[in-house]
Symmetry: C2
Subunit: 500 residues, 2 copies
């Protein structure tokens, strides 16, 4: 074995043993030369070899980092026993600061997770709610307990039928939005210490749930072009006793990507082979720009393994808190957990939404909403092209309302987030979508708001800040209202410091 | 040490070591004679000594059983290290069968936990809901996120002021009923393996939460006359690292008892001394028969240790799912947990209830409701006196709508429950209110339904069944719809057998 191969093997073993976590920076060339008494070219050749093996990746002017997914994707070729994943850790306080900044009035909400509430037919909904409440029988508070109002479940069943999915209404459980559905499903099939597979990047609520329930997470890479990496997933399923997967199959948050029919079929058959349930988050599925709604993975589930969770919060009535899950073989346990934790979903609201779905013109509203979102996304793409540095990249999604922007490598998106907030603009920094401090040079931009000059100005502000950040490099930024300061070190690593 | 003293010490050590759990039957006199080679009178004297020490209690014709609370109340006099409580275990399936039987139409719902929904001002509520929904601004879905609609929180704040409690509205968090509030509080201050103090008997949701979250419970006895045993609690707080208490201070479910002002003050100062939070379930507080609403323990809390949880589900709008918690020093963490698990409480409903509380005449409705409940309870007491065997005992509550009936010792209430169900009557058997299989000869009877001949007939049925059970003793009973059969052994122990 040549010198650089030996060094590469040493470093590979260190990566596998967890000395450096995914996303962490490897020692500098100078450091390794001193430590191992080798020449500069040996170090470089070792790094190139590890790069070829997919274990590390270079970032311009920053050095080498342990690659996202490296740990898993290389396990197959490793003879050593796989190291089990650690319990997920996230900087919860920081995440809350970022998310709550989106609620501040006056801040341009490009970091928000929701579309503008002005896009929804509130007066028509109020009419349905008023009518349903007027005719609500007293015993509905008993009869409409979980699984929920039968009229509503029939309307939901009809929507599944519209996708060609025959869904028994007894398996539909009405919930307080998709968030409750997802959490109930995860709690129903796991216990503390269990391993679950989530996406990387992923909807941050999955990270919070994993942390809160004391689970351990394996993050499966999601490519903005092709979606979830099924090879890595297959490998992980072989290696680990994975108890559940939590994936977003359509217009994934934050990348916007959608799995092809073929990949969805493969996903379901892979999980069926391992008898692992899928918690499918499909809250954006109705927001397609093409003519057809993309099918959920649930459409290919013959074993009741897929728990399909969705809601009307992004499509019809934000704040009403109406979602549901079709939980297949887990129906009974999810229903019981709902009874134990929140008893029921508000009964007049269930009845009101049932009335709206039958009489309110939901499909017409959806067509209008999709047109608005597509137009808004086009405006955003135009503004990005006009105002942001040409190095900014993204993959154009076929639905939803998020753009996942890859910024120049030297830009720290958390720093951008903080500086932008000081100028009245909120964007969601990439690091809140992973527990491994990945995606430091990514931001998620919300295109769910009707286009205004204020939004255009906000994109211009982002462009100015980006140009400055790409030029001047790391520095300190201070988060004014939350008394949070963020130390940015020489390598662009952010360490949040909360002043208590 | 005399022979019987030695035997008593041996048995005491065995009880303390957990050989026999609370409520379990001790070996027969014949068995002990053989095992220890002693005479019958030695065994009896040992039993009498243990009975004096509060460790065991006799049940007529059934033998001796480990006393409820024995384990804790005797620890103070024990020099051995206290044994930590085990994780709570309950027969969840059985509990669900019992609870869900209450939902079956046509069954007389004396086992239900709710008052009749016919007692509530549904048309007036519908009017408030319709008006609020019509004027709901689109941004309410952002602004009214947790802690919740400000108008509603101001109305809630006014109700606290009415009790003489100055409650900052920033510490009021609107929830999906009290059930969500209680669960959020418990999750906020515990992690799996922690010890919490609950009541015995207690609201079964506390048992479910303890089991679900992997906690360990110490059950503090509640006497129907005097309420929670504060000496046992004080002892437990000294001995164990208790992380939280979950108590119902007013019109306790199931016993109906209310702590005196003095006991509430003592409770709060005791918890303050140990810096242990109290999750106070006060859902029945407004349903007082006297002129004054009994204060919650929260009224005496100067340290922000009491999380006062309540709702409008028993007093105004069952099924609307509006409750709240004032969480003191835990406000921020409870709010974040709410955001992570259910995002928000339905926003049009929050606005509708705010409108009702301001304009709907809540206090007038409450006065009427209290009068109805008091009259219904009087009718039930009369019917109980007329139809049930004279050996049946209870303590008359000063509010709420539950009677906690102590049946003759030889009656197994689970058997009564099953036989009554077959005849169209549901009562809640005592054993679902404890994890220790206590209260086998207790039932909780719901007086929350307007008095009818059907209810009168149901009480007569209970009387007939009770007379038969007291005469014939244990036997088999079959639960028809749930495919649950219950084996009753010679000692009156029930073993549920679920046919899958």
């Amino acid at each position: 074995m040549k010198r650089y191969e030996t060094l590469a093997s040493t470093l590979e073993a260190e990566i596998r043993s967890g000395t450096w976590s995914i996303g962490s920076r490897l020692p500098s060339v100078r450091h390794l030369r001193t430590q191992y008494g080798v020449g500069q070219s040996t170090v470089f050749r070792a790094y190139y070899l590890l790069e070829e093996r997919g274990l590390i990746s270079a970032r311009e002017r920053s050095g080498y980092f342990v690659a996202q997914g490296a740990f898993l994707s290389t396990l197959a070729s490793s003879s050593s026993a796989p190291k089990e994943p650690e319990p997920a850790k996230i900087v919860s306080d920081l995440l809350f600061s970022v998310v709550e900044a989106a609620r501040h009035p006056g801040i341009v909400p490009l970091g928000s997770g929701s579309p503008s509430p002005e896009l929804f037919p509130l007066p028509r909904l109020a009419k349905s709610l008023a009518r349903a409440a007027r005719f609500l029988g007293p015993w509905s508070s008993v009869v409409d307990m979980p699984p929920g109002n039968e009229h509503l479940r029939r309307q939901i069943g009809l929507r599944y039928l519209g996708m060609g999915i025959s869904q028994p209404i007894d398996e539909i459980l009405v919930t307080n939005g998709a968030m409750e559905a997802l959490n109930l499903c995860l709690m129903s099939v796991t216990k503390p210490g269990d391993i679950v597979a989530i996406e990387s990047p992923c909807f941050y609520a999955a990270l919070q749930a994993v942390e809160r329930l004391g689970l351990r997470a394996i993050e499966i890479p999601v490519d903005p072009h092709t979606g979830l990496d099924l090879d890595v997933l297959a490998n992980a399923l072989e290696r680990y006793p994975i108890r559940a997967c939590w994936f977003m199959t359509n217009f994934h948050n934050p990348t916007g990507t959608t799995l092809t029919i073929e990949k969805k079929k493969t996903l379901v058959s892979l999980l069926t082979r391992h008898d692992v349930p899928l918690i499918e988050d499909d809250v954006f599925g109705e927001l397609h720009f093409d003519t057809e709604r993309p099918l959920p993975a649930k459409a290919f589930d013959t074993q009741g393994l897929v728990m399909h969770c969705t809601s009307l919060s992004k499509t019809l009535c934000p704040g009403y808190r109406i979602g549901w899950v079709t939980a297949g073989r887990y129906t009974d346990q999810v229903r019981k957990l709902k009874l134990m934790t929140s008893v029921a979903t508000s009964i007049p609201v269930q009845a009101g939404i049932a009335d709206y779905l039958q009489h309110g013109g939901f499909d017409k509203h959806l067509r209008k909403l999709r047109t608005s979102l597509r137009a808004q996304m086009a405006s955003m793409e135009y503004a990005v092209a006009e105002n942001l540095p040409p190095a900014v990249e993204y993959h154009k999604p076929a639905g939803g309302y998020f753009l996942w922007l890859k910024l120049p490598a030297q830009v720290n998106a958390m720093q951008l987030h903080l500086l932008a907030l000081q100028r009245g603009v909120n964007v969601a920094p990439g690091s809140i979508f992973s527990s491994n401090d990945c995606y430091r040079n990514y931001v998620r931009v919300n295109c769910g708001h009707p286009w205004t000059s204020k939004i255009e100005g906000a994109v211009r502000t982002l462009g100015e800040l980006l140009t400055r950040l790409a030029d001047t490099g790391p520095s300190y930024a201070v988060f004014p209202s939350q008394k949070l300061s963020l130390k940015i070190d020489a390598e662009g690593c952010s360490s949040p410091v909360l002043e208590r």
